[in-house]
Protein backbone atom coordinates (compact mmCIF):
# COMPACT_ATOMS: atom_id res chain seq x y z
CA UNK A 1 0.00 0.00 0.00
CA UNK A 2 3.01 2.27 0.37
CA UNK A 3 2.60 4.04 -2.92
CA UNK A 4 2.40 7.72 -3.77
CA UNK A 5 -1.34 7.43 -4.32
CA UNK A 6 -1.92 6.55 -0.64
CA UNK A 7 -2.83 10.07 0.30
CA UNK A 8 -5.53 10.49 -2.32
CA UNK A 9 -6.95 7.06 -1.49
CA UNK A 10 -7.64 8.05 2.09
CA UNK A 11 -9.27 11.22 0.76
CA UNK A 12 -11.59 8.94 -1.22
CA UNK A 13 -12.92 7.67 2.10
CA UNK A 14 -14.71 11.02 2.48
CA UNK A 15 -18.38 11.29 3.31
CA UNK A 16 -21.00 11.97 0.67
CA UNK A 17 -21.31 11.47 -3.07
CA UNK A 18 -17.57 11.72 -3.84
CA UNK A 19 -16.30 9.49 -1.06
CA UNK A 20 -16.84 5.91 0.04
CA UNK A 21 -16.92 6.76 3.75
CA UNK A 22 -20.70 6.78 4.07
CA UNK A 23 -21.02 3.52 2.09
CA UNK A 24 -18.60 1.84 4.49
CA UNK A 25 -20.35 3.28 7.55
CA UNK A 26 -23.73 2.10 6.21
CA UNK A 27 -22.25 -1.34 5.50
CA UNK A 28 -20.79 -1.59 8.99
CA UNK A 29 -24.12 -0.59 10.53
CA UNK A 30 -25.88 -3.29 8.50
CA UNK A 31 -23.24 -5.88 9.48
CA UNK A 32 -23.95 -5.09 13.13
CA UNK A 33 -27.73 -5.23 12.54
CA UNK A 34 -27.61 -8.54 10.68
CA UNK A 35 -25.30 -10.03 13.32
CA UNK A 36 -27.43 -8.81 16.25
CA UNK A 37 -30.70 -10.03 14.73
CA UNK A 38 -29.17 -13.36 13.69
CA UNK A 39 -27.65 -13.78 17.15
CA UNK A 40 -31.00 -13.11 18.83
CA UNK A 41 -32.70 -15.78 16.69
CA UNK A 42 -29.74 -18.05 17.34
CA UNK A 43 -30.08 -17.64 21.10
CA UNK A 44 -33.79 -18.52 21.00
CA UNK A 45 -33.16 -21.57 18.80
CA UNK A 46 -30.08 -22.46 20.85
CA UNK A 47 -32.09 -22.51 24.07
CA UNK A 48 -34.72 -24.75 22.46
CA UNK A 49 -31.96 -26.95 21.04
CA UNK A 50 -30.20 -27.22 24.39
CA UNK A 51 -33.42 -28.29 26.12
CA UNK A 52 -34.18 -30.77 23.34
CA UNK A 53 -30.69 -32.29 23.66
CA UNK A 54 -31.05 -32.61 27.44
CA UNK A 55 -34.65 -33.80 27.30
CA UNK A 56 -35.73 -37.13 28.75
CA UNK A 57 -37.76 -37.86 25.63
CA UNK A 58 -35.71 -39.79 23.06
CA UNK A 59 -37.46 -38.23 20.03
CA UNK A 60 -36.73 -34.70 21.29
CA UNK A 61 -33.09 -35.65 21.91
CA UNK A 62 -32.95 -37.07 18.39
CA UNK A 63 -34.29 -33.82 16.88
CA UNK A 64 -31.84 -31.72 18.92
CA UNK A 65 -28.86 -33.90 18.07
CA UNK A 66 -29.70 -34.06 14.35
CA UNK A 67 -30.12 -30.27 14.22
CA UNK A 68 -26.75 -29.47 15.77
CA UNK A 69 -24.82 -32.28 14.02
CA UNK A 70 -26.14 -31.49 10.54
CA UNK A 71 -25.65 -27.74 10.77
CA UNK A 72 -22.16 -28.08 12.25
CA UNK A 73 -21.08 -30.51 9.52
CA UNK A 74 -21.97 -28.16 6.65
CA UNK A 75 -20.04 -25.13 5.39
CA UNK A 76 -21.75 -21.90 6.47
CA UNK A 77 -21.64 -20.57 2.91
CA UNK A 78 -23.50 -23.64 1.61
CA UNK A 79 -26.12 -23.28 4.36
CA UNK A 80 -26.68 -19.62 3.52
CA UNK A 81 -27.07 -20.44 -0.18
CA UNK A 82 -29.35 -23.35 0.65
CA UNK A 83 -31.61 -21.20 2.83
CA UNK A 84 -31.68 -18.37 0.36
CA UNK A 85 -32.23 -20.25 -2.90
CA UNK A 86 -34.07 -23.35 -1.74
CA UNK A 87 -35.48 -22.32 1.63
CA UNK A 88 -37.02 -18.99 0.72
CA UNK A 89 -38.61 -20.18 -2.51
CA UNK A 90 -40.17 -23.10 -0.67
CA UNK A 91 -41.33 -20.80 2.12
CA UNK A 92 -42.71 -18.24 -0.32
CA UNK A 93 -44.72 -20.94 -2.10
CA UNK A 94 -45.95 -22.30 1.21
CA UNK A 95 -47.06 -18.88 2.47
CA UNK A 96 -48.76 -17.97 -0.82
CA UNK A 97 -50.43 -21.38 -1.00
CA UNK A 98 -51.69 -21.07 2.56
CA UNK A 99 -53.15 -17.68 1.67
CA UNK A 100 -51.11 -15.90 4.34
CA UNK A 101 -49.22 -13.79 1.81
CA UNK A 102 -50.00 -12.21 -1.53
CA UNK A 103 -48.86 -13.69 -4.87
CA UNK A 104 -45.91 -11.34 -5.32
CA UNK A 105 -44.32 -12.18 -1.98
CA UNK A 106 -40.55 -12.15 -2.18
CA UNK A 107 -38.31 -12.70 0.83
CA UNK A 108 -35.50 -10.14 0.73
CA UNK A 109 -31.83 -11.15 0.96
CA UNK A 110 -31.63 -9.14 4.19
CA UNK A 111 -34.32 -11.24 5.87
CA UNK A 112 -32.92 -14.46 4.41
CA UNK A 113 -29.46 -13.49 5.71
CA UNK A 114 -30.73 -12.97 9.25
CA UNK A 115 -32.82 -16.13 9.20
CA UNK A 116 -30.00 -18.30 7.89
CA UNK A 117 -27.41 -16.91 10.31
CA UNK A 118 -29.90 -17.43 13.13
CA UNK A 119 -30.51 -21.02 12.10
CA UNK A 120 -26.76 -21.72 11.84
CA UNK A 121 -25.83 -20.07 15.12
CA UNK A 122 -28.77 -21.71 16.88
CA UNK A 123 -26.90 -25.00 16.45
CA UNK A 124 -23.61 -23.64 17.78
CA UNK A 125 -25.28 -21.82 20.68
CA UNK A 126 -27.32 -24.93 21.55
CA UNK A 127 -24.09 -26.73 22.40
CA UNK A 128 -22.71 -23.74 24.31
CA UNK A 129 -25.91 -23.40 26.38
CA UNK A 130 -26.18 -27.14 26.91
CA UNK A 131 -22.69 -27.04 28.41
CA UNK A 132 -23.79 -24.17 30.66
CA UNK A 133 -26.81 -26.10 31.91
CA UNK A 134 -24.74 -29.22 32.52
CA UNK A 135 -22.21 -27.22 34.55
CA UNK A 136 -24.89 -26.46 37.18
CA UNK A 137 -24.49 -28.80 40.17
CA UNK A 138 -27.43 -31.25 39.92
CA UNK A 139 -27.96 -30.96 43.67
CA UNK A 140 -29.20 -27.41 43.20
CA UNK A 141 -31.87 -28.46 40.72
CA UNK A 142 -32.84 -31.31 43.02
CA UNK A 143 -33.08 -28.89 45.93
CA UNK A 144 -35.23 -26.51 43.90
CA UNK A 145 -37.51 -29.40 43.03
CA UNK A 146 -37.65 -30.42 46.68
CA UNK A 147 -38.82 -26.90 47.53
CA UNK A 148 -41.74 -27.51 45.21
CA UNK A 149 -40.62 -25.11 42.46
CA UNK A 150 -42.32 -25.87 39.18
CA UNK A 151 -40.28 -26.10 35.97
CA UNK A 152 -40.65 -22.49 34.71
CA UNK A 153 -39.76 -21.07 38.13
CA UNK A 154 -36.84 -23.46 38.45
CA UNK A 155 -35.59 -22.31 35.08
CA UNK A 156 -36.00 -18.63 35.87
CA UNK A 157 -34.48 -18.65 39.34
CA UNK A 158 -31.94 -21.48 39.37
CA UNK A 159 -31.02 -22.70 35.88
CA UNK A 160 -30.98 -19.58 33.71
CA UNK A 161 -28.86 -17.23 35.88
CA UNK A 162 -26.16 -19.86 36.39
CA UNK A 163 -26.29 -21.24 32.85
CA UNK A 164 -25.66 -17.76 31.42
CA UNK A 165 -22.66 -17.26 33.67
CA UNK A 166 -21.08 -20.55 32.59
CA UNK A 167 -21.97 -19.97 28.94
CA UNK A 168 -20.69 -16.39 28.57
CA UNK A 169 -17.19 -17.26 27.25
CA UNK A 170 -18.68 -19.60 24.61
CA UNK A 171 -21.39 -17.09 23.76
CA UNK A 172 -18.71 -14.44 23.27
CA UNK A 173 -16.83 -16.70 20.85
CA UNK A 174 -20.00 -17.36 18.86
CA UNK A 175 -20.74 -13.63 18.72
CA UNK A 176 -17.27 -13.02 17.26
CA UNK A 177 -17.89 -15.82 14.75
CA UNK A 178 -21.31 -14.52 13.67
CA UNK A 179 -19.94 -11.02 13.02
CA UNK A 180 -17.32 -12.59 10.75
CA UNK A 181 -19.71 -15.07 9.10
CA UNK A 182 -22.13 -12.22 8.39
CA UNK A 183 -19.67 -11.29 5.61
CA UNK A 184 -20.85 -14.44 3.78
CA UNK A 185 -24.32 -13.00 3.22
CA UNK A 186 -22.83 -10.59 0.68
CA UNK A 187 -22.79 -13.63 -1.62
CA UNK A 188 -26.61 -13.76 -1.69
CA UNK A 189 -26.82 -10.02 -2.32
CA UNK A 190 -27.54 -8.73 1.17
CA UNK A 191 -25.78 -5.40 1.68
CA UNK A 192 -23.23 -5.24 4.50
CA UNK A 193 -19.64 -4.18 5.09
CA UNK A 194 -18.04 -6.56 2.61
CA UNK A 195 -20.57 -5.54 -0.08
CA UNK A 196 -19.54 -1.92 0.51
CA UNK A 197 -15.88 -2.90 0.22
CA UNK A 198 -16.46 -4.90 -2.94
CA UNK A 199 -18.45 -2.06 -4.48
CA UNK A 200 -15.64 0.42 -3.85
CA UNK A 201 -12.91 -2.04 -4.88
CA UNK A 202 -14.45 -3.08 -8.20
CA UNK A 203 -15.43 0.50 -9.07
CA UNK A 204 -11.98 1.99 -8.45
CA UNK A 205 -9.86 -1.16 -9.11
CA UNK A 206 -8.03 -0.32 -5.87
CA UNK A 207 -8.58 -3.81 -4.48
CA UNK A 208 -5.77 -3.80 -1.90
CA UNK A 209 -6.81 -0.52 -0.33
CA UNK A 210 -10.56 -1.08 -0.13
CA UNK A 211 -10.40 -4.70 1.00
CA UNK A 212 -7.89 -3.62 3.67
CA UNK A 213 -10.34 -0.96 4.85
CA UNK A 214 -13.05 -3.65 4.92
CA UNK A 215 -10.80 -5.91 6.98
CA UNK A 216 -10.06 -3.03 9.38
CA UNK A 217 -13.80 -2.46 9.81
CA UNK A 218 -14.32 -6.09 10.83
CA UNK A 219 -11.21 -5.96 13.03
CA UNK A 220 -12.57 -2.90 14.84
CA UNK A 221 -15.87 -4.69 15.40
CA UNK A 222 -14.00 -7.72 16.78
CA UNK A 223 -11.87 -5.63 19.15
CA UNK A 224 -14.88 -3.66 20.48
CA UNK A 225 -16.82 -6.93 20.95
CA UNK A 226 -13.90 -8.48 22.84
CA UNK A 227 -13.73 -5.50 25.22
CA UNK A 228 -17.49 -5.61 25.79
CA UNK A 229 -17.47 -9.35 26.50
CA UNK A 230 -14.60 -9.04 28.99
CA UNK A 231 -16.75 -6.48 30.85
CA UNK A 232 -19.85 -8.68 30.71
CA UNK A 233 -17.87 -11.64 31.99
CA UNK A 234 -16.42 -9.61 34.85
CA UNK A 235 -19.88 -8.36 35.80
CA UNK A 236 -21.42 -11.82 35.61
CA UNK A 237 -18.72 -13.19 37.89
CA UNK A 238 -18.79 -10.32 40.38
CA UNK A 239 -20.23 -12.50 43.16
CA UNK A 240 -17.96 -15.48 42.54
CA UNK A 241 -14.72 -16.13 44.38
CA UNK A 242 -11.81 -16.57 41.98
CA UNK A 243 -9.99 -19.87 42.31
Amino acid sequence: MASKSDHSLWLDMAWGAEGWGDEFAYGLALTVQISLAGYAIGLALGLLGAFAKLSGRPWLRFIGDSYTTTIRALPELLLILLFYYAGTSALEKLLVHAGVASEDLQISPFVAAIASLGLIYGAYLADVLRGGIQAIPPGQIEAARAYGMHAPLRFRRIVFPQMIRYAIPGMGNQWLNITKDSALVSVIGAYELLSAGRGAATFTKEYIFYYSVTALGFLGLTIVSMVVFVRIERRANRGVRRA
Binding site: P75, E76, L78, L81, L82, Y85, A183, L184
Partner: protein, 236 residues
Protein backbone atom coordinates in the same frame (compact mmCIF):
# COMPACT_ATOMS: atom_id res chain seq x y z
CA UNK B 1 -38.62 -26.44 -9.58
CA UNK B 2 -38.99 -29.67 -7.68
CA UNK B 3 -36.58 -31.88 -5.84
CA UNK B 4 -35.63 -34.50 -8.42
CA UNK B 5 -33.82 -37.36 -6.70
CA UNK B 6 -32.90 -39.37 -9.86
CA UNK B 7 -31.42 -36.22 -11.42
CA UNK B 8 -29.44 -35.55 -8.27
CA UNK B 9 -28.10 -39.09 -8.04
CA UNK B 10 -27.26 -39.56 -11.73
CA UNK B 11 -26.10 -36.08 -12.80
CA UNK B 12 -25.27 -33.88 -9.81
CA UNK B 13 -23.61 -36.28 -7.37
CA UNK B 14 -21.12 -37.74 -9.91
CA UNK B 15 -20.08 -34.22 -10.92
CA UNK B 16 -19.66 -33.26 -7.27
CA UNK B 17 -17.70 -36.42 -6.46
CA UNK B 18 -15.42 -35.54 -9.35
CA UNK B 19 -14.69 -32.25 -7.55
CA UNK B 20 -13.94 -33.91 -4.19
CA UNK B 21 -10.18 -34.25 -4.97
CA UNK B 22 -10.00 -30.47 -5.48
CA UNK B 23 -11.59 -29.89 -2.08
CA UNK B 24 -9.24 -32.42 -0.50
CA UNK B 25 -6.25 -30.82 -2.23
CA UNK B 26 -7.26 -27.46 -0.76
CA UNK B 27 -7.68 -29.07 2.65
CA UNK B 28 -4.44 -31.06 2.65
CA UNK B 29 -2.17 -28.36 1.27
CA UNK B 30 -3.47 -25.60 3.53
CA UNK B 31 -3.46 -27.94 6.55
CA UNK B 32 0.18 -28.89 5.95
CA UNK B 33 1.45 -25.39 5.10
CA UNK B 34 -0.69 -23.71 7.76
CA UNK B 35 0.26 -26.06 10.58
CA UNK B 36 3.96 -25.87 9.71
CA UNK B 37 3.74 -22.06 9.73
CA UNK B 38 1.88 -22.27 13.05
CA UNK B 39 5.05 -23.47 14.81
CA UNK B 40 7.12 -20.30 14.24
CA UNK B 41 3.99 -18.19 14.86
CA UNK B 42 3.45 -19.81 18.26
CA UNK B 43 7.15 -19.70 19.13
CA UNK B 44 7.37 -16.01 18.19
CA UNK B 45 4.18 -15.24 20.13
CA UNK B 46 5.75 -16.77 23.27
CA UNK B 47 9.06 -14.97 22.86
CA UNK B 48 10.03 -12.23 25.32
CA UNK B 49 11.54 -10.21 22.49
CA UNK B 50 9.02 -7.53 21.42
CA UNK B 51 10.37 -7.68 17.87
CA UNK B 52 9.12 -11.28 17.76
CA UNK B 53 5.97 -11.41 19.86
CA UNK B 54 4.44 -8.15 18.66
CA UNK B 55 4.31 -9.08 14.94
CA UNK B 56 3.06 -12.55 15.89
CA UNK B 57 0.35 -10.99 18.09
CA UNK B 58 -0.78 -8.66 15.30
CA UNK B 59 -0.72 -11.51 12.75
CA UNK B 60 -2.90 -13.74 14.96
CA UNK B 61 -5.29 -10.85 15.67
CA UNK B 62 -5.63 -10.08 11.95
CA UNK B 63 -6.22 -13.72 10.98
CA UNK B 64 -8.74 -14.35 13.75
CA UNK B 65 -10.34 -10.91 13.81
CA UNK B 66 -11.32 -10.57 10.15
CA UNK B 67 -13.60 -12.78 8.02
CA UNK B 68 -11.85 -15.45 5.97
CA UNK B 69 -13.83 -14.33 2.93
CA UNK B 70 -12.29 -10.85 3.20
CA UNK B 71 -8.84 -12.44 3.49
CA UNK B 72 -9.50 -14.54 0.37
CA UNK B 73 -10.66 -11.47 -1.58
CA UNK B 74 -7.67 -9.48 -0.35
CA UNK B 75 -5.27 -12.20 -1.50
CA UNK B 76 -7.03 -12.96 -4.79
CA UNK B 77 -7.86 -9.45 -5.98
CA UNK B 78 -5.05 -7.73 -4.06
CA UNK B 79 -2.30 -9.94 -5.47
CA UNK B 80 -4.00 -9.70 -8.85
CA UNK B 81 -3.60 -5.93 -8.59
CA UNK B 82 0.00 -6.18 -7.39
CA UNK B 83 1.19 -8.72 -9.97
CA UNK B 84 2.12 -7.07 -13.23
CA UNK B 85 1.00 -8.52 -16.59
CA UNK B 86 4.64 -9.50 -17.27
CA UNK B 87 4.74 -11.69 -14.17
CA UNK B 88 1.37 -13.20 -15.17
CA UNK B 89 2.76 -14.05 -18.61
CA UNK B 90 5.86 -15.56 -17.06
CA UNK B 91 3.89 -17.75 -14.66
CA UNK B 92 0.58 -18.57 -16.37
CA UNK B 93 -0.48 -20.88 -13.53
CA UNK B 94 -1.00 -17.72 -11.42
CA UNK B 95 -4.24 -17.18 -13.34
CA UNK B 96 -5.76 -20.13 -11.48
CA UNK B 97 -7.67 -19.08 -8.37
CA UNK B 98 -6.68 -22.21 -6.46
CA UNK B 99 -3.21 -20.87 -5.56
CA UNK B 100 -4.70 -17.77 -4.00
CA UNK B 101 -7.23 -19.88 -2.11
CA UNK B 102 -4.48 -22.18 -0.77
CA UNK B 103 -2.40 -19.15 0.22
CA UNK B 104 -5.28 -17.48 2.07
CA UNK B 105 -6.42 -20.70 3.76
CA UNK B 106 -2.82 -21.47 4.82
CA UNK B 107 -2.10 -18.15 6.49
CA UNK B 108 -5.54 -18.24 8.13
CA UNK B 109 -4.82 -21.72 9.52
CA UNK B 110 -1.38 -20.52 10.67
CA UNK B 111 -3.10 -17.85 12.78
CA UNK B 112 -5.72 -20.14 14.34
CA UNK B 113 -3.40 -23.13 14.83
CA UNK B 114 -0.63 -20.85 16.10
CA UNK B 115 -2.88 -19.66 18.91
CA UNK B 116 -3.92 -23.24 19.77
CA UNK B 117 -0.29 -24.35 19.75
CA UNK B 118 0.68 -21.43 21.99
CA UNK B 119 -1.81 -22.59 24.61
CA UNK B 120 -0.54 -26.16 24.32
CA UNK B 121 3.11 -25.11 24.70
CA UNK B 122 2.17 -23.28 27.89
CA UNK B 123 0.44 -26.47 29.11
CA UNK B 124 3.58 -28.63 28.81
CA UNK B 125 4.55 -29.61 32.40
CA UNK B 126 7.39 -27.41 33.53
CA UNK B 127 9.23 -30.32 35.15
CA UNK B 128 9.72 -32.03 31.78
CA UNK B 129 11.41 -28.97 30.33
CA UNK B 130 13.54 -28.61 33.47
CA UNK B 131 14.55 -32.27 33.24
CA UNK B 132 15.54 -31.82 29.59
CA UNK B 133 17.63 -28.78 30.48
CA UNK B 134 19.24 -30.76 33.33
CA UNK B 135 20.25 -33.37 30.74
CA UNK B 136 22.26 -30.60 29.10
CA UNK B 137 19.99 -30.18 26.07
CA UNK B 138 20.27 -26.81 24.38
CA UNK B 139 17.14 -24.63 24.15
CA UNK B 140 16.59 -25.63 20.52
CA UNK B 141 16.93 -29.35 21.30
CA UNK B 142 14.54 -28.97 24.24
CA UNK B 143 12.04 -27.24 21.95
CA UNK B 144 11.99 -29.73 19.10
CA UNK B 145 12.50 -32.88 21.19
CA UNK B 146 10.44 -32.21 24.30
CA UNK B 147 8.26 -29.08 24.20
CA UNK B 148 6.91 -29.29 20.65
CA UNK B 149 6.06 -33.03 20.55
CA UNK B 150 4.37 -32.76 23.95
CA UNK B 151 2.49 -29.62 22.91
CA UNK B 152 1.28 -31.21 19.68
CA UNK B 153 -0.13 -34.13 21.63
CA UNK B 154 -1.84 -31.81 24.10
CA UNK B 155 -3.59 -29.82 21.37
CA UNK B 156 -4.58 -32.77 19.16
CA UNK B 157 -8.32 -32.61 20.02
CA UNK B 158 -8.40 -28.86 19.36
CA UNK B 159 -6.42 -29.35 16.15
CA UNK B 160 -8.89 -32.00 14.98
CA UNK B 161 -11.83 -29.65 15.27
CA UNK B 162 -9.72 -26.97 13.59
CA UNK B 163 -9.20 -29.30 10.61
CA UNK B 164 -12.96 -29.92 10.34
CA UNK B 165 -13.45 -26.15 10.30
CA UNK B 166 -10.77 -25.91 7.59
CA UNK B 167 -12.57 -28.50 5.45
CA UNK B 168 -15.74 -26.40 5.69
CA UNK B 169 -13.72 -23.25 4.96
CA UNK B 170 -12.48 -24.71 1.65
CA UNK B 171 -16.02 -24.08 0.34
CA UNK B 172 -15.17 -20.37 0.30
CA UNK B 173 -12.69 -21.04 -2.52
CA UNK B 174 -15.75 -21.29 -4.77
CA UNK B 175 -16.06 -17.50 -4.52
CA UNK B 176 -12.74 -17.06 -6.36
CA UNK B 177 -13.59 -19.40 -9.27
CA UNK B 178 -12.18 -22.60 -7.80
CA UNK B 179 -14.24 -25.60 -8.88
CA UNK B 180 -14.29 -27.52 -5.64
CA UNK B 181 -17.49 -29.24 -4.45
CA UNK B 182 -19.52 -26.10 -3.76
CA UNK B 183 -18.07 -24.38 -6.83
CA UNK B 184 -19.30 -27.19 -9.09
CA UNK B 185 -22.69 -27.28 -7.34
CA UNK B 186 -23.03 -23.53 -7.89
CA UNK B 187 -22.03 -23.85 -11.55
CA UNK B 188 -24.71 -26.50 -12.14
CA UNK B 189 -27.26 -24.47 -10.19
CA UNK B 190 -26.64 -21.34 -12.25
CA UNK B 191 -26.69 -23.30 -15.51
CA UNK B 192 -29.84 -25.35 -14.84
CA UNK B 193 -31.77 -23.21 -12.32
CA UNK B 194 -32.08 -26.30 -10.15
CA UNK B 195 -31.61 -25.14 -6.56
CA UNK B 196 -32.68 -28.17 -4.55
CA UNK B 197 -30.83 -30.99 -6.32
CA UNK B 198 -27.53 -29.11 -6.58
CA UNK B 199 -27.27 -27.57 -3.12
CA UNK B 200 -28.70 -30.58 -1.27
CA UNK B 201 -26.33 -32.77 -3.28
CA UNK B 202 -23.42 -30.61 -2.11
CA UNK B 203 -24.68 -30.88 1.47
CA UNK B 204 -24.65 -34.68 1.22
CA UNK B 205 -21.09 -34.67 -0.12
CA UNK B 206 -19.87 -32.32 2.64
CA UNK B 207 -21.52 -34.39 5.37
CA UNK B 208 -19.80 -37.50 3.98
CA UNK B 209 -16.44 -35.72 3.83
CA UNK B 210 -16.75 -34.38 7.39
CA UNK B 211 -17.76 -37.86 8.62
CA UNK B 212 -14.76 -39.51 6.95
CA UNK B 213 -12.34 -36.79 8.07
CA UNK B 214 -13.54 -37.17 11.67
CA UNK B 215 -12.77 -40.89 11.52
CA UNK B 216 -9.33 -40.31 9.98
CA UNK B 217 -8.48 -37.69 12.62
CA UNK B 218 -9.61 -40.02 15.41
CA UNK B 219 -7.29 -42.67 13.99
CA UNK B 220 -4.38 -40.24 13.91
CA UNK B 221 -5.13 -39.11 17.45
CA UNK B 222 -5.23 -42.69 18.71
CA UNK B 223 -2.01 -43.53 16.84
CA UNK B 224 -0.11 -40.55 18.27
CA UNK B 225 -1.33 -41.33 21.78
CA UNK B 226 -0.60 -45.05 21.51
CA UNK B 227 1.68 -45.28 24.55
CA UNK B 228 -0.78 -43.37 26.71
CA UNK B 229 -3.71 -45.71 26.11
CA UNK B 230 -2.41 -48.23 28.67
CA UNK B 231 -1.92 -45.45 31.19
CA UNK B 232 -5.38 -43.99 30.83
CA UNK B 233 -6.83 -47.49 30.98
CA UNK B 234 -5.03 -47.99 34.28
CA UNK B 235 -6.24 -44.67 35.60
CA UNK B 236 -9.80 -45.57 34.69
Amino acid sequence: MIFDIPYMVTIVLPALLYAVPTSLLLLASSAIIGNILAVPVAAARLSRNPLLWMPAYVFILLMRGTPLLVQIYLVYYGLGQALTPEIMREFPFLRDGIWYAIFALSINTAGYSGEILRGAILAVPHGEIEAARAFGMSRWVVFHRVTLPRAIRICLPAMSSEMILLLKATALASTVTVYEVLGVAQAIRIETYRVYDTLIGAAIVYIAMVFLLTRVLNRIERYLNKDRQAMSAQAA
